[in-house]
């Protein structure tokens, strides 16, 4: 019994230590944003990686999400004689909730895992030690461009996801189910408000910070993983980063939604 309590206590302390370490990491990244020289070239490179290269996956997943939403809403709405409101239902669902969440999940899967693994390998190959010894802050040189690129890219990707999702709903509603295209668009215009757009924007920025922060921090502290090292540790932290990012993002989604709805 005593041993179990001890183990629980030790685990709790470790969790708080991890959280504190990650908090300090994030504060160091934010405080390095205004340090000079600013790596504009690195920022563009990261925007290309996080933003531009994520476009195909965002377009495809957005299109299919919109199409599935339209099918499901049609099945329900037809019973209530409200199919003309399909455009509003699809767009509201996407803009308020599915757009930011699904975009963030796609970016976590594609960028979060890759970023975590890359940074963990850099740690294992002493690249951060090398930067520190060259008096170059790893926070400024490696982390800041990734954070800013995520903050810039995610709202844009989310907007594209929303638009392509609405288009997917239009394809199913208008061409498959025979709804009026004009009515579909009209209900969107009437239902989407500035506060919806504000919500999608705020959520996407918060999700961007969460996903890139957890990916970078988990990779950066790979050497502190207990009982594993090398490639095994990289695999372990990458899995942890993806799971932790997704859970934290969904938790943050609930918090933000409860404040903004």
């Amino acid at each position: 019994m005593l041993a179990q309590i001890e183990r629980l206590g030790a685990t709790t302390i470790t969790r708080f230590e991890d959280l504190g370490r990650m908090g300090i990491f994030l504060s160091r990244v934010f405080s390095s944003i205004f340090s000079r020289p600013f790596g504009f070239r690195d920022l563009l490179k990261q925007i290309a990686f996080i933003g531009a290269s994520s476009m195909p996956i965002i377009l495809l997943s957005g299109l299919f999400t919109g199409m599935v939403l339209a099918l499901q809403f049609y099945a329900v709405m037809v019973d209530f004689g409200a199919v003309e409101l399909m455009g509003a239902a699809v767009s509201k669902s996407l803009v308020q909730e599915l757009g930011p969440v699904m975009t963030a999940l796609m970016v976590i899967a594609r960028v979060g895992s890759a970023t975590c693994a890359e940074i963990a390998i850099m740690r294992n190959e002493q690249q951060f030690d090398a930067l520190t010894c060259m008096a170059i802050s790893p926070y400024r040189f490696i982390m800041v461009p990734r954070l800013l690129a995520a903050i810039i890219s995610l709202p844009i990707l989310t907007s594209i996801y929303n638009l392509i999702g609405i288009f997917g709903g239009y394809l199913v509603g208008v061409y498959l189910k025979g709804l009026s295209g004009m009515a579909y668009m009209q209900t969107i215009e009437n239902s989407i408000t500035w506060s919806d757009l504000k919500m999608t924007f705020i959520k996407s920025i918060i999700f961007a910070v969460i996903l890139i922060w957890i990916a970078m921090a988990k990779g950066f502290f790979v050497h502190l993983e207990k009982g594993v090292s090398g490639a095994e540790a990289v695999g372990k932290v990458t899995t942890k980063a993806v799971v932790a990012s997704a859970i934290t993002m969904l938790f943050a989604d609930y918090i933000v939604s409860s404040f903004l709805i």
Partner: protein
Amino acid sequence: MSDSQALIKVNNLSSAYGERKVLFDIDLEVKQGEILVVMGGSGSGKSTLLRNMLGLMMPSQGEILFNGKDICKVNQAELAKLRQSMGVAFQGGALLSSLSVGDNIKLPLRQHTDLDEKTISIMARLKLELMNLAEYEDLMPSELSGGMLKRAGLARAVIMDPKILFFDEPSAGLDPVTSVELDQLILDLREAMNMTIIVVTHELESAFKIADRIAVLFDGKLVTIGSVEHIKACSDERVVNLINRKPRINPLDADKYLSRLTKGS
């Protein structure tokens, strides 16, 4: 040797990973233009000593004076300034994998100087030629062999013409020819730039060839420090065993092996 001559001075240094102490009361100093080789077997604390001297790890006790300033007590800005006078060549090169060889070597100049790009390119080219790597400037680190990575890491370490160069395991994992080439490079660097060099290695031939003095570590303690002749003539059993490559325990000696396995059980 007076304090004014010593470029780096380690006083009463102890260091630990959590509860586990790995260095005990180390005292040593290195003069300007001297090559000091830190030798010892695996787990003797060589790399920990290096990490402490680089300020990558804080000692649990003692001080490390670089040019008279204790690197454990200066603030981050001062430490960054001091580090611009240090060059470090890591075991595997530690080149940034996202940058080409040329960009890796230019990085310290781009970050810390106001030199124009043309001048930076010329300086990087000179260092690459010194390392016999000029034709590899545009390649990515993943396209280089182990020896080339070490030489590229060395080129980056000396691009700012540092006062002191730290080199971690220059010969590890290299074929004998490349290893000899690197030793010669270290000697050439000292000759050309009067650079103070601290090399951490466990390669005897390499150490005897390049060292002005050798410090031998064993289980985190400094056993002895002195010239190559002093080390060769040293009667301390641990030094003799290291020089003669005598294993710490013979696994084929069944009695000793069993007694070691059952010790403490």
